[in-house]
Symmetry: C2
Subunit: 158 residues, 2 copies
């Protein structure tokens, strides 16, 4: 089996990003590896797919999970052409990714108008200070679904 | 046209969450409204769909965008049975959602093992302190895709 270095895999992620940037996608690419083998690779398809969540990392995570028939990517390494935005970083936590390798950073992305730093700063603010209005309603019913979940003996934890 | 109150729409999101909790999904539901009309509704399907990104909010955003044939949900209001995790909150920023209404909060979710607070705290840490290893490689090539993007005159901003 061909074994790749970290730099070789990253070069693939960067090549995907460059290709995407010139063919209707966003300028981001991602590769996921498990046990030295490439499981999934993807680029950003937000505008192509009418899906604001279709970042390269999210697309690659979905693809890897579909391939491995699991919602748990424990043991997987993620290589992304640019430091993940908060959505993709949190997706890595939910997917139990082992390690994230990145080439560009938030400052690089900002030079062409992708200001992930803004969203990082927004998340760090108290709810009432964020630019998106956040308001709690029916707080007394918030536990209803969780109570049903607690009582469901067939539930699958994730 | 039937007009809904905020509480009526939230009750629908909570009902979706409760239904999901007892039928193989996660205990979360979400409804998206534009101009007083329900555009999309969804529940969490992480384990059903083998997709760790398939939270109720992300599913609803994807569904609304598909329906409206856009990647921009400007003018839309999102009603979620529980305060969004960082992935879903950032997805709301990327989708340009106007307002987020929620019923349960992070503390409610934690009582049944959904510790979104952990991911919020992780995002707030410096990269080297996070539990997922984050390492920069080939930093000198990080701008390559962005340069290609900059030069592409047909690019679609999002």
């Amino acid at each position: 089996m061909k074994s790749y270095t970290n730099e070789e895999i990253m070069a693939k992620a960067i090549a995907l990003a460059k290709e995407s940037a010139t063919s209707g996608g966003g300028p981001f690419g991602c590769v996921i590896v498990k046990d030295g083998k490439i499981i999934a690779s993807a680029s950003n398809s937000v505008t192509k797919d009418f899906d604001p969540t279709a970042h390269a990392e999210v697309n690659a995570i979905r693809s890897a999970c579909k391939k491995l028939k699991t919602f748990d990517l424990d043991g997987c390494l993620l290589y992304t052409s640019c430091e993940p935005c908060p959505m993709c970083l949190a997706a890595c936590y939910w997917a139990h990714i082992d390690a994230i390798y990145y080439s560009g950073n938030q400052d690089d992305a900002a030079t062409v108008g992708f200001d992930d730093r803004y969203i990082y700063r927004q998340i760090d603010l108290k709810k009432e200070k964020r630019s998106i209005l956040m308001q709690r309603i029916l707080p007394e019913q918030g536990m209803v679904p969780f109570q049903a979940w607690k009582e469901n003996e067939d539930k699958i934890h994730y």
